[in-house]
């Protein structure tokens, strides 16, 4: 199994498309950093415009925490695309290349093959989120330092103490990894159904976009189905930035995400076991 996973990782990291995600984040986050160097004060002013009317405050609000929070917030819709680029290719890519024939005529079970691929995909996903954390939090630390984090949640302004933030980010990135793993497993499922990687990439993104739009439309009917859409839980990393943190809610969301991963992966396994390899 370990051999298979290492083979799959080797294949993933020898592909150019794998690095698109890392490069995209590696360019985008520093751009945000540079923008924040010049415009950060305005951003803070904008965010605190209303409290400034009645309050006077001091402190370093323009810090790596704020920027990492903004980055995480704005990228949760876009990182799935980077994940599906690789996830959607995992199985369909082999179908397109005809290399199923090379691999599956060997003395390995299909279950192991699929599981190894899935694990490799999950590792890629986690590395991408780790890279995001590294780029935003660690690089940001050297530019902006740390400080209190001011965020606006719903109609609430929350300011966290400096010492009370890092663990929230660890939790948030961990949770984001899990959320992205759901995306990876969905694209993996689609990937097992077709013979071309474009299909799974497009359909995974279509599902996410449709779900996100449904969630965002404030109509009672649509809001009532919202709890059943997994995309709703992908952004729940924000629960770590509640005061106080509702760990029950987080555990519930984690449970839902894991359930999705199990269902998507289980379905892939069943489909792939029965699949006739025709390419």
């Amino acid at each position: 199994m370990f051999t298979l996973i290492s083979i799959e990782l080797y294949k993933i990291f020898r592909k150019w498309r794998t690095y698109i995600g890392f490069i995209a984040i590696g360019i985008l986050v520093p751009i945000i950093h540079i923008a924040m160097i010049y415009e950060g004060k305005n951003t803070i002013d904008f965010m605190t415009r209303n409290i400034q009317q009645s309050f006077i405050f001091v402190g370093n609000l323009l810090n790596t925490y704020l920027i990492s929070y903004i980055v995480l917030n704005s990228l949760t819709v876009h990182i799935p695309f980077l994940i599906t680029l690789v996830g959607g290719d995992l199985l369909a890519g082999e179908a397109t290349a005809g290399t199923y024939r090379l691999m599956l005529t060997r003395p390995i079970t299909r279950e192991k093959f699929v599981t190894a691929k899935f694990i490799a995909g999950v590792i890629y996903t986690n590395l991408l989120i780790f890279w995001l954390a590294l780029m935003s939090l660690v690089v940001g630390y050297f530019i902006f330092g740390v400080g209190e984090l001011l965020i606006i949640r719903g109609d609430m302004i929350i300011i966290f103490e400096k010492e009370d933030i890092l663990w929230r980010f660890v939790g948030a990135y961990g949770y984001a990894s899990l959320g992205m793993t759901v995306v990876a497993s969905l694209s993996f499922l689609f990937s097992s159904l077709v013979e071309n990687a474009i299909g799974p990439i497009v359909s995974t993104m279509a599902v996410i976009i449709v779900f996100v739009i449904i969630s965002a439309i404030n109509v009672d009917l649509l809001q009532s189905i919202k709890p059943y859409l997994f995309t709703n839980y992908i952004s729940s990393w924000q629960l770590f930035f509640d005061q106080p943190v509702d760990f029950n809610e987080i555990l519930k969301s984690i449970g839902i995400l894991i359930l999705h991963i199990l269902i998507f992966f289980g379905a892939t396994l069943i489909i792939f076991r029965r699949k006739d390899i025709l390419t």
Binding site: K11, P107, T109, L278
Partner: protein, 309 residues
Amino acid sequence: MKSVNSELVIEIKNLSKSFKNLIAVDNLNINVFQGDVFGFLGPNGAGKSTTIRMLLTLIKPNKGSIKIFGKDLFKERLSILRNIGAIVEKPDFYGYLPAIKNLEIVSKISGHDISKKRIMEVLELVGLAERYKSKVKTFSHGMKQRLGIAQALLHNPDLIILDEPTTGLDPMGMKEIRDLIIHLSRDLKKTIFLSSHILYEVEQVANRMIIIYKGTARVEGNVKDLLNATNLAVTFEVNDSEKAKDILNETRWKEKLKNVSGQKLEFNIENHEIASLNKYFVEYGVDVYSIIPTRSLEEYFLKITQETN
């Protein structure tokens, strides 16, 4: 070439597979014995690849059983696959990886301990040793075909399944592959299951063969026997086919006349009858322009190939 050993290596019984409305393989029975070079012949789309994919567990049959090395393929898949090397259709590899990396990946999951030395050995055998570091996407079709053979031989399997291994090769390459198959069979005592749509190719290397068409077996047997069949199809091209037909009436030749098209008359006669039929025509004033004997198997194969195309 007789079967070296009567031990069954592949035993296919009542194998059927259909895709939606298309019946790809219909109640197929095949026996391949140890040491055979077994020709699996059929025009494109006859069901050859589907059968080979079932032999390699890429496709699940709807019906029937496959035993390889005396074991049920779907129950003892892993131990069976350890001893099979195969090319299925066109040889595809990870184009973004070098040839050697492709072989390394394959050897890691072959169920055998394969050294780097062995990999280079096999690359040497197929004449790719100098290009081992090149990415496969830079390879020509012929080179990929040879790399395909390399990956099939890597773990020194007892049974080698080759699906149209000469497709897309130039005549020189085709000959090389045929020589290699003969070497594997004669010197290394491998059992080879060779699919082809070219009768000539099978004739060159196989000792036993089967022709399948539209998913069912049509002709089966020893290659030599099948091709040395006494019955020949002989086509006489004459100046006046009506007149020829007339003079044949009431003679023993009439029932041997199979077909008339234009000025061509086709007979099912034996070798020694050609001369006397020719004499008969000449005696009765029918000019014979040409006499073309065709082996019936060849003719039959040509016919089904043309039908398919």
